[in-house]
């Protein structure tokens, strides 16, 4: 199972912060498709003009998927996928 953590700003759509998804062996993109099926509103807010919004970063086991294989990053049993608002400033 893949552990998925949402930020509080998703809760109005997802109702919960932490879920488990059966997405072993799938890619992050395929995981997103599963989540969009479950939470249809999430897709409209997360995808703008066919691209993932730059204001939410996706991490697999703490690493930004930009530095892995992006949406093609492979998931395995026990992985943690975290959605985090893009906020930074030293």
């Amino acid at each position: 199972m893949i552990r998925v953590k949402f930020p509080s700003v998703f809760v109005s759509i997802t109702k919960e912060r932490k879920i488990e998804v059966d997405a072993d062996g799938k890619t992050v993109k395929e995981l997103l498709d599963i989540l969009f099926e479950k939470y249809s509103e999430l897709e409209a807010r997360l995808i703008k003009d066919g691209e993932l919004t730059p204001f939410i970063n996706i991490f697999v086991n703490g690493e930004d998927i930009r530095y892995l294989d992006g949406l093609e990053t492979q998931l395995k049993d026990g992985d943690e996928v975290t959605f985090i608002p893009a906020i930074s400033g030293g």
Binding site: T53, S88, G90
Partner: protein, 405 residues
């Protein structure tokens, strides 16, 4: 009332003025929305000029109401006409704002004073931040004054003096294996789990960022209520440049200045995303590995990058990306010409300014303001090996005479 709420910087959706930082409609960042009629009625040049010698002389523009600020005396720092450095660079009207003289020796006191005041107002149980070092010291000091515990996340390997400064005030310093971006991700997760903790640059970010606007107000006040032709601003996340831009806009909105066509220039160490995007006409592309010794500007995924780039381009400014050696030389040049020892980020700013003048982007008669954001004693590791050593002698006159012979 001065504060009307919060507003999404992307889609414009409005929210009540609470400790929230992300729009639930488009996930964009939020900013403070003011009641400008109220502010225009209350503010005046005279009122400001008779105010305290700190950022709180501009309280009419800051998102704090009905509560005493947590104030260590941040802001209204030295404004210097840099004649010697100007002569070296070929500028007749170069001015510096020297934030190395703030209470904890960096510009961060401006933002932290506002953010910790909001944490107290919201009744938060603790404060925290992710930091490259300057914010750590500032938050630790203001938290001590506010009697709040502070949890501060820094990347491993930042300058020792910045850690010591934060520790001495009693803050809990958590050194995270990895870069600033790793520390920031962890801090954001912790902020999400603890909504009654005020993470100043995360869930208090809309308020926090407002403190830096005071650099624009000070610039204008010191120039006799006029704007400069060009500014040069160091960039990490790009938030500082955006805040200074908002500051000039605020003054125009309430008619405290007559015109506002300031050219914005950014400075970032070589290889970082915002300067790269401006200089080479690309989008902001985050960088995982950061190869610079200028830790205070080393943010690989700058949240305000797209906004900073837009401001620079709209104002017909530019961004420069000096390599570390140029920045070290610039720290030394500033120290030798003006008697100011700034940290490496200030070196990046002066080195970028030098390039902009050499490339003809800044005219010799332009009124230019450069922002020096921190104190050189915080980053001595980066400079000590680039200075001549001391001269050791026995305590005898003839030994000294040999030295100067």
């Amino acid at each position: 009332m001065k504060i009307a709420g919060l507003k999404c910087r992307i889609c414009g959706k409005e929210f009540p003025a609470e400790p929230v930082y992300t729009c639930d409609n488009c996930f964009g960042p939020l900013e403070v929305l003011y009641n400008w009629d109220f502010i225009a009625e209350n503010v005046s040049r005279e009122k400001i000029e008779n105010g305290p010698r700190s950022i709180w002389r501009y309280a009419d523009f800051l998102p704090v109401e009905n509560v005493e600020p947590i104030d260590l005396g941040a802001g209204f720092t030295r404004f210097i006409k840099a004649e010697n450095l100007g002569e070296e660079l070929g500028l007749k009207n170069l001015y510096l704002i020297d934030d190395s003289t703030n209470p904890t020796y960096s510009f961060k006191d401006r933002v932290v004073s506002v953010a910790v005041t909001k944490a107290v107002e919201f009744g938060m149980k603790a404060v925290g931040c992710a930091s490259t070092g300057n914010l750590a010291g500032s938050l630790a000091a203001h938290a001590a004054k506010a009697k709040l515990p502070a949890y501060i996340f820094v990347p491993e390997g930042i300058e020792r003096n910045k850690i010591v400064q934060a520790l001495v005030h009693g803050a809990k310093i958590i050194e995270v294996e990895g870069t600033y971006d790793d520390a920031n991700r962890l801090a954001t997760e912790i902020a999400e789990e603890n909504p009654d903790w005020g993470f100043v640059n995360i869930n208090l970010r809309p308020y926090y960022a407002e403190g830096s606007k005071t650099l624009a107000y000070e610039t204008v006040e010191h120039l006799g209520w006029a704007t400069p032709d060009q500014v040069i601003v160091p960039m990490a996340s790009g938030a500082l440049l955006c805040a200074i831009h908002r500051g000039f806009e605020d003054l125009e909105r309430v008619d405290l200045i007559e015109e506002n066509d300031v050219v914005f220039n950014g400075a970032q160490p070589y290889g970082l995303p915002i300067s790269k995007a401006v200089k080479y006409g690309k989008g902001i592309e985050p960088v995982r590995r950061l190869e610079t010794i200028v830790h205070s500007l080393a943010i690989g995924n700058p949240a305000d990058g797209i906004f900073a780039k837009e401001i620079i381009e709209k104002s017909s400014g530019f961004a420069e990306d000096p390599v570390d050696e140029e920045s070290i030389e610039a720290v030394k040049l500033l120290a030798k010409t003006e008697g100011i020892f700034t940290e490496l980020a200030g070196g990046v700013t002066i080195a970028a300014l030098k390039r902009l003048v050499e490339d003809g982007r800044i005219d010799s008669s332009d009124v230019v303001v450069a922002y020096l954001t921190g104190n050189g004693l915080k980053t001595t590791e980066g400079i000590v090996d680039h200075l001549p050593g001391t001269v050791k002698i026995k305590p005898r006159l003839e030994e000294f005479e040999k030295v100067i012979a």
